[in-house]
């Protein structure tokens, strides 16, 4: 039984669907995060009929209780347990109407020009000079109120990076954030309880709805029906928001154009499930900005759970020269669950560290992976039981970047007055003076032996000029399908060297014109 399409322009939650639904829009967008929301809004504003399918639920500020125990299972992929198959790298990805932008820490950077130059030179990306993206960066920055965090609102946790880097003579800068009326509560990662964060659910998705788009929440795109080289229909399973299990209802969308924006894990996953991988490149070149953290104890209170999570960054080591992997530096917030899962050691020493949580500072070094010719990154694949699987073999050059990054962080923390600095090894390296930082050279830098993280999954559907070696072309259309585009972080052929959300926004805005041409 098929219901009539509903009135346009609303967000429909899974439980509302009491019958199967069929839609025949111009464009179907799978995913409502940084890529999907922006492309949906712009296509709808061009007068195209747009349907968005989002597997996550729709949440509002009243749902954001600033409580980790409820927020991670509700708002993150795999209830917050997503990790590489060897458990070496915890992978944080949002899952909601608005995608990861709902739980993003609001750090907003433009893509460095040198990355686009590298994509052109090494991956054959054509027609994407910095000048092509610049107006789109400017437009999304205006729409999302991107502005620099004032120094007066840098919290003590970030102040350690600001002060320590200055003492060492290292470049550092204030971070720009997509917030308006931010009260610096410090709980960005659990959803903003005062709607200060300009996440997609409050900005581009309402724009899309105003322009007539229909957004289905709790709708997991499962099957893509094809006819020849065209995607003919997308069938989504409707989920019960409470249990996340299928209600038995389904949504069939028959669009003229299909846009995949399910993210760097979700988009390859969907393509692999549907055997849409003609050249075997889907799910390859996954990059993570693998992160190591450095934990420091101060005499003063830091209260790392409070204040904007990231307001200071340093790119002093982003360009290390040929043959090496660069890294950049930021801070990470310290809420109890996140801290406890990341803190080094067990039993008494872990407990002692936790008892000093108010005095703890956490800084992170993010490795800029994917720029060496020999770097293939990780892979996204499917397990025999149907689950998605992420593998990320960590190359020696990435280990070196993480180790050097940890050393720089420890020096910064000690320069800022830390009493002791701990690495995240299971038997942590403890450093009380700059001379002891060299101990990190002898530590076991091995998978699952030291805590590593990623909140920046990228790649998996690399763009490029060569249809044999890449998944999408320089206009983000899939090489091997006539009406399928990929508009999300999965198209990056390398990592970015900056937090990726703003680049995804801008790229999606740029791509909307190309998608519109395909649909027109």
């Amino acid at each position: 039984m098929t219901d009539k399409p509903q009135a346009p322009g609303r967000i429909v939650a899974g439980p509302e669907l009491r019958r199967d639904v069929e839609e025949r829009p111009d464009v179907c967008v799978v995913g409502s995060g940084a890529g999907g929301a922006v492309v949906a809004a712009h296509l709808a504003q061009k007068g195209l009929k747009v349907v968005v399918l989002e597997e996550g639920g729709r949440f509002g500020r009243a749902d954001f209780r600033m409580d980790e125990a409820t927020a991670y299972p509700r708002l993150y992929m795999e209830k917050g347990t997503r990790a590489t198959a060897d458990q070496a790298i915890t992978v944080l990805q949002g899952r909601a109407v608005g995608g990861s932008t709902v739980v993003n820490w609001t750090t907003s950077y433009r893509l460095p020009d040198r990355v686009l130059a590298h994509w052109a030179a090494a991956h054959g990306v054509e027609g994407l000079p910095p000048a092509a993206l610049a107006p789109h960066f400017a437009a999304v920055e205006e729409r999302l109120h991107v502005h620099e965090q004032p120094l007066a609102e840098v919290n003590p946790n970030n102040r350690v990076l600001w002060d320590g880097a200055q003492k060492l003579g290292l470049e550092r800068a204030l971070i720009r954030r997509n917030v308006r009326g931010c009260a610096n509560l410090g709980y960005c990662g659990l959803g903003c309880p005062i709607d200060a964060k300009a996440s997609m659910d409050l900005t581009y998705l309402p724009d899309a709805v105003r322009a007539g788009a229909r957004i289905y929440a709790n709708a997991r795109a499962a099957r893509i029906e094809r006819s020849g080289k065209r995607a003919a229909a997308v069938v989504a399973t409707v989920l019960d928001p409470a249990s996340d299990r299928p209600t038995g209802r389904k949504i069939t969308v028959r669009p003229r154009v299909l846009v995949l924006s399910a993210g760097a894990v979700g988009t390859p996953e969907l393509l692999l499930r549907n055997e849409m991988n003609p050249n075997g490149r889907v799910g390859l070149r996954t990059f993570l900005h693998p992160v190591t953290a450095s934990l420091a104890l101060f005499r003063e209170r830091i209260e790392g759970w409070r204040g904007a999570p990231q307001s200071v960054g340093s790119h002093a080591f982003a360009e290390p020269g040929p043959g090496k992997v660069g890294f950049f530096l930021e801070a990470a917030p310290l809420h109890p669950m996140l801290s406890a899962a990341a803190a080094p050691g067990i039993a008494g020493e872990h407990q002692e560290l936790m008892s000093r949580l108010p005095n703890a500072n956490a800084l992170i070094a993010l490795a800029i992976d994917g720029f060496l010719p020999e770097e293939a990154g990780g892979t996204v694949s499917l397990r025999s039981d149907g689950r998605v699987r992420i593998d990320y073999p960590i190359r020696p050059q990435v280990w070196e970047a993480l180790r050097e990054g940890a050393k720089v962080l420890a020096r910064i923390q000690l320069a800022a007055g830390a009493e002791a600095v701990y690495s995240l090894h299971e038997d942590p390296v403890v450093m009380r003076s700059a001379a002891e930082v060299a101990l990190l050279d002898r530590a076991p830098w091995l998978p699952a032996r030291v805590g590593l993280f990623s909140a920046h999954a990228m790649g998996g559907c690399a763009m490029g000029g060569d249809p044999k070696r890449s998944v999408v072309d320089s206009r983000l259309k899939m090489h091997h399908y006539e009406n399928v585009w990929v508009v999300d972080g999965s198209v990056f052929p390398t990592s970015l060297g900056v937090n990726p959300q703003e680049t995804i926004f801008a790229l999606a805005r740029w791509a909307a014109d190309h998608v519109a041409q395909g649909a027109g």
Binding site: R18, E153, L202, R306, P336, A340, R383
Partner: protein, 298 residues
Amino acid sequence: MARRQRYQRVLLPGEKEGRRDFLRKGLVGGLLLAAGGGVFLATRRTRAASGLGPLQILSPEEATVVLAVANRLVPERVGFPRPLDVGVPGKVDALLAGLHPGAQKEFRRLVNLFEGAVAGFLFEGQARQFTACSPWEQEDRLRGWAQSRVTLRRSGFRALKKLVYAAYYGSPQTWPAIGYPGPPIAPAPVAPERPPAEASEEAPPKPVRAAQQAKAAEPGPRPAEVRPRPTPPGARGAEPAEAASPPARPGPRVPEPSRQAEAPPAAGALEAPPAPRPVEPYPAQRSGVPAPAEEAKP
């Protein structure tokens, strides 16, 4: 103990694993997989603890192993509640219940491997189940997994560690021990398994729905409280010279978000679809939030 030394040796950078290490890793890893291969027998002699509460995924014996791990990961210390008192096994079980069946199976297999006497003998020379070991033997065994040269064991350990610590420190009862004051807005009780808020923001909750919601919530929704935050003594940057540092002021006061989530739409809602209601990104009540710059230092 001489036997244990081998596993605690630190691998130096650039140091290649010896051929014997590789053989042992391969052999032992293979044995481990064989021992854990889909058979959940290791906990058959485990004595289930009492007071575990209802379980959906784990057997009482498996939950007992999780509890034993939690008891070692969080040793007894004044101010720290015991893991059972904050319901760690039940919380781990509840999280597992939301995961893919494949992930549930994997975790149960891990728990059985961890508990098993065979793995204990192979790795630690302790031919005893984990739950039958003394506390110090258990701690040794945990460290053996954490710092093992076999990646499979380290991976398994990390999965256990993350889930157990997250369950424990996610519990508000543990927060006083670690000096965490909790969120700046005290959450009002929320009815469990509540569906997400509907698209409309301006529409006030309909009386009927509000009543339904009140019935569902236990003990009933009440407005969130704003907890004033005193300035902690000795806060970093509190000295007058550093007027730029923010923590010297009290925490931001945030009004209770006025929008109430709506109850699930009544049956047949689709037959009469509501008029399109665009979502207003920044409703007027946002002006009630004081801008941080306006907050005067005390």
